[in-house]
Point group: C2
Chain length 173, copies 2
């Protein structure tokens, strides 16, 4: 079995999470098993949560995170939650159960130093053969980019917010 | 009903088609109807084709195109096929049956002047209320970008081909 790819979708534009969703689907289309963990929880019901139900035999989809930036009034509690979310992700990577593990919006956890970056990078590097890891989120740290096999920057050229158009069902969420 | 968004995913990086797939899924998660038309046909069986079967009640997924760049030894035949593919897409946009119409890799058709760009832009502008249109592909023409509500440039920062790693199942296809 070949070494799986470490893929990073970063940048300030739309398309990072949707790209990860598309990858999950494409993999599931090959009957590959996927773990899809969202590290940031929004306040709405995600369209993707409903859609993913149709892949419950192949995709383990879970929202592990809390509010939008992980910043609450209780930093220690946030850190503990982030750490346990990462432990779960790490377990999935090393479980032998998944061909692809997606850590959606994980860069926030790294950038806010909710988990130890070196420990994460060491674990990612040691991932078992045949396991693809996908990480999304803005401002991916340099060290992660250096280690990645594939990096796409989703660059915002134009966004409807600029025209005063509000988030729309089925597009933004 | 509000005016739907015109969204463009362009650039040379990975994530354009997968992003469109993710959007289709997110929309389907809201029980929205989606037409997903691929304007370029690859030689493999797409993972997404298998995955999309699970959404056959909501997503009309079709490969309308031919080989990789639409370039064959018969330009007139290519043009006729591109034109009929565009007619089908236009029909979907105006049918009242879909909340989202995705024209995957459509920029190639525009850039190779397989269809009349002005006619396409006029039709896109006249799209009915509540219909989102998503267009993907490299080198989206300036006039399309100007008209779009949302544009993300998927910029290749790093690609496994650079390291000599071959395309992998469930990731590239």
């Amino acid at each position: 079995m070949k070494k799986g790819l470490l893929m990073v979708f970063t940048g300030n534009g739309k398309g990072k999470t949707t790209s990860a969703l598309g990858l999950a689907m494409r993999a599931a289309g090959h009957s590959m098993k996927v773990a899809f963990y969202q590290f940031i929880k929004g306040s709405w019901k995600y369209g993707e949560m409903e859609a993913m139900k149709r892949f419950s035999d192949l995709v383990d989809f879970q929202v592990l995170g809390r509010g939008f930036t992980w910043q609450s009034d209780d930093l220690e509690k946030d850190k503990a939650l982030a750490k346990s979310a990462w432990e779960k992700a790490k377990e999935a990577i090393f479980s032998g159960k998944y061909h692809m593990v997606i850590l959606d919006e994980f860069t926030y956890v790294l950038n806010y130093e909710m988990v130890d970056q070196d420990e994460v990078l060491t674990a990612l590097k040691a991932r078992p053969q045949g396991v693809h890891v996908v990480i999304t989120g803005r401002n991916a740290p340099e060290a992660l980019l250096n280690m990645a096999d594939l990096v796409t920057e989703m660059k915002e050229i134009k966004h409807p917010y600029q025209k005063g158009i509000k988030a729309q069902k089925g597009v933004e969420f």
